[in-house]
């Protein structure tokens, strides 16, 4: 009897280790973080725009079509990596994309977009990070899919990869179908 009890710690340990192994090996994305905002309307914000001389007011910009919201900054290396995919969303999928420029210098942002190409229909500025807090942004880049009635449908933390690109396109296709 005693002998069986003594072997219990090792059994527990091996079970836990196997679960860890399983989680490491499966195609898992730890940066897919559930958001409390999913299926809720977008948080309201009002701020300056990078290109336009008028204020960006969120309630006027969302709610007509499916929109992608992408938090980016020129100082963020992964943002540069994902930029190709953001451009593809615009050129190939014909999506309207709003790029929220997070804690950045507007001049640098302008130069950056000139250099890499501008897929954004508008760039509201989030100079002090307030908008990102309201959106529950963990770390940039982060991308949100907003349905045509202004509701957050999907959130991705980290740079867009080929897999995520496909996933978002699939999601948008189903959103359009439901409509």
């Amino acid at each position: 009897m005693v002998k069986q009890i003594l072997i219990i710690p090792s059994i527990f340990f091996l079970i836990i280790v196997s679960i860890f192994f399983y989680l490491l090996i499966i195609d898992r994305n730890p940066s897919e973080i559930p958001s409390n905002l999913i299926n809720k309307t977008i948080p309201f914000f009002e701020t300056e725009s990078l290109f336009k001389n008028k204020k960006f007011i969120s309630s006027e910009e969302f709610g007509n079509e499916i929109v992608l919201v992408n938090f980016f900054a020129t100082w963020c290396k992964p943002c540069r990596d994902e930029h190709g995919y953001i451009k593809k969303f615009q050129s190939k999928e014909k999506l309207r994309i709003i790029g929220i420029n997070y804690k950045d210098d507007p001049e640098k942002a302008n130069a950056w977009l000139k250099d890499l190409g501008n897929p954004y229909s508008d760039v509201p500025l989030d100079k002090n990070g307030r908008i990102a807090i309201d959106w529950g942004v963990y770390g940039i880049p982060e991308t949100f899919v907003i349905s045509s009635d202004g509701i957050i449908k999907y959130r991705h933390v980290g740079p867009i990869t080929k897999k995520i690109y496909k996933k978002i396109n699939l999601l948008i296709a189903t959103l359009k179908l439901k409509k």
Partner: protein, 626 residues
């Protein structure tokens, strides 16, 4: 040149570690083993200093320096930056590990040679594992070509003196438990045929590890309190839990070692705890650095590292625990004792600590379990921990107050009842006094204050009575626990928080203080610019008691904003102000916290640490005597 030399010293360390493994395994001449142990220590010391050197001279041909440093960084943080990142921290980890290895070697004598040699063999195995990990998945000496002109910077919230020494202290803790682990495995393998007092050898390492882990965790907490600007000091973050779990098991181990030493009871249990304390340290490292969990602690994530550490953990844990399962029966004894005795109270406390540890472990990995089986994502937060950990801690602390006055073996209940009457009275009086002062009532508040004064009064009374069984170290550490509970209770039960928008010259009241936003100024720091708010704090009698100057810093190199809270502490409360965003026209967002008794958390932790140091000192002396 220097980085290549660094790389070379890593391989050299690996060579000496392998050499130590085989020579101690085959009981070779002591001279060989001593050479291996000493050279191993020096080669890891050299590789550590070479990396520091690369950081200090900003050698931007080294990827590690490019990614984590910048020429504008102050010297202290260039050095501390070495262990502020994953690769560099592995070198510090190695350094502490080889130093512990050296201390174990120093214990070697004719009587205990088989035991110490076995311990050194296992220790060498652990060192080899971590060296391979460092060299192949986290080599800090990798180069980049062409060399870069400037580093990418650093994380400014890590630029803090408390955080500069927090990792080394924690590592001494984690790695110190490796000695206990090796000794436990060695004892099990050898069946302790030669009747070695293995627990006497283990004890100073456990005390040392636990003591430094305590102060390391406390410093991390201090940093979170004034740097993160959330007004709190513990967040049940996975990384915090990763250090808290070995601490809990370490606490249990520390106390049950006393029973083994005095009564030769519970040997098998102690052997298990020694294995678990180190395993939990390694699993913690795995959880934090594999990217399997998301946490506020930023370490670069790399799945291949995760696989490696996990395989290594599986080897260490699988081997030691199966060994325990097969061999520990030999360490059972028939030295029974009543539950109402010193051993009884320690054992009860051990069980509580283990249960708390299991609870925290479950909370930490529960999101992973749920994901593995159901594909859902959940997160476990403060409500879970508060509603599970606190109820288990309450009886543990009641026992802790009475345990030290019980005698070994068996105790007369009536005698004890008489002994504790004064402390019960003191506790009651102090509790009533405190509640008359704060005038705010809650069950948790009552429980916390009663427990705190229960511990404090028992301690103080025993020192006054000159109880022989009461050592200085125990008095200091237990008093620290009492004060710690006082601080925790005060700061969580009576905290007051105000978030307001203030313009210059505005005034706000929190408790009995008036806070006036006097002016806002721009300042320039060494590698940041900041706006600083000047706040005047007036008490009831309109007297200015202090000026608080919270800052909102901007680090242009990394484009990061940080907030520096400004805090006024005294023995009764902290006033804590954080400056948020804003401008002259619309005013600034200001967060003001009134945090009662916080300072006692730090004083308590410091006392626990000091108690540990005193005990380490006595135990080392004892060990050196024979």
């Amino acid at each position: 040149m220097i980085p290549s030399l660094g790389n070379f010293t890593l391989w050299l360390s690996l060579f000496f570690a392998v050499f130590q493994f085989f020579s101690s395994r085959k009981n070779k001449n002591i001279k060989y083993i001593s050479l291996a142990v000493i050279f191993l220590f020096f080669s890891s010391l050299i590789s550590f200093f070479l990396l520091i050197y690369s950081h200090v001279i900003s050698d931007f041909s080294v990827i590690n320096v490019v990614q984590n440093s910048h020429t504008t960084k102050p010297l202290l943080y260039k050095i501390a930056g070495v262990w502020g990142n994953h690769e560099g921290s592995m070198l510090l980890w190695m350094l502490v590990l080889t130093l512990v290895n050296y201390f174990i070697f120093k214990l070697l004598n004719k009587k205990n040679s088989s035991f110490i040699l076995k311990t050194l063999e296992i220790q060498a195995f652990i060192i080899i594992g971590f060296l391979l990990f460092t060299i192949f998945t986290s080599n800090p000496f990798l180069r980049v070509f062409p060399a870069q002109l400037e580093g990418l910077g650093f994380n400014p919230i890590l630029q803090d003196p408390a955080l500069a020494i927090h990792p080394p202290l924690l590592y001494i803790g984690y790695v110190g438990f490796s000695a206990a682990f090796s000794m436990s495995v060695a004892t099990l393998i050898l069946n302790n045929k030669k009747n070695i007092f293995w627990y006497n050898y283990m004890k100073p390492f456990v005390i040392g590890a636990w003591t430094f882990l305590t102060i390391g965790i406390a410093l991390g907490s201090v940093w979170a309190y004034y740097e993160l600007g959330w007004g709190g000091w513990w967040f049940w973050d996975p990384v915090e839990n990763a250090s808290f779990m070995p601490w809990l098991i370490g606490t249990a181990l520390l106390h049950s070692l006393i029973i083994v030493e005095k009564r030769k009871s519970l040997q098998a249990w102690v052997l298990l705890l020694a294995i678990l304390a180190f395993l939990l340290s390694v699993i913690g490292t795995f959880l934090v650095r594999s990217g399997i969990l998301t946490s506020v602690h930023t370490f670069a994530l790399d799945p291949s590292r995760g696989i490696y550490i996990l395989i290594f953990t599986a080897l260490l844990g699988g081997y030691s625990l199966i060994l325990f399962g097969v061999k520990s029966r030999k360490f059972f004894d028939n030295n029974y004792f009543s539950s109402f005795s010193k051993e009884g109270s320690i054992l009860i406390n051990n069980i509580f600590m283990t249960v708390v540890c299991a609870t925290v472990f479950l909370g930490t990995i529960y999101p992973l379990l749920v994901e593995a089986f159901t594909n859902n994502k959940i997160s476990v937060g403060e409500p879970y921990y508060n509603s599970t950990v606190i109820p288990i801690m309450i009886p543990a602390i009641i026992v802790m107050g009475i345990g030290p006055i019980l005698s070994w073996g068996k105790e007369d209940k009536l005698k004890i009842l008489k002994k504790i009457i004064p402390s019960v009275l003191i506790t009651l009086i102090m509790t009533i006094a405190i509640f008359l002062f704060y005038k705010s009532y809650s069950i948790l508040g009552f429980a916390g204050i009663i427990l705190s004064f229960w511990i404090i009064s028992n301690n103080v009374l025993n020192i006054i009575r000159k109880n022989k069984a009461y050592s200085m170290s125990m008095f200091i550490a237990h008093l620290g626990v009492g004060l710690l509970i006082l601080g925790i209770t005060g700061s969580s039960v009576w905290q007051d928080e105000k978030i307001v928008k203030m313009k210059v010259k505005n005034e706000i009241k929190i408790k009995n203080y008036n806070i006036i936003f006097d002016q806002i100024v721009e300042i320039k720091g060494i590698n940041y610019i900041a706006v600083r708010g000047n706040f005047l704090v007036r008490d009831d009698e309109k007297k200015i008691i202090t000026k608080l100057k919270p800052e909102n810093r901007f680090y242009p190199i990394t484009n990061i904003f940080t907030s520096e809270a400004s805090i006024h502490s005294n023995l009764f409360r902290d006033l804590y102000i954080v400056l948020g965003e804003g401008n002259m026209a619309n005013g600034w967002v200001v967060r003001i916290y009134y945090n009662p008794l916080v300072i006692w958390i730090w004083i308590g932790s410091l006392l626990i640490f000091l108690g540990g140091i005193v005990s380490l000192n006595t135990n080392l002396k004892k060990l050196l005597k024979w």
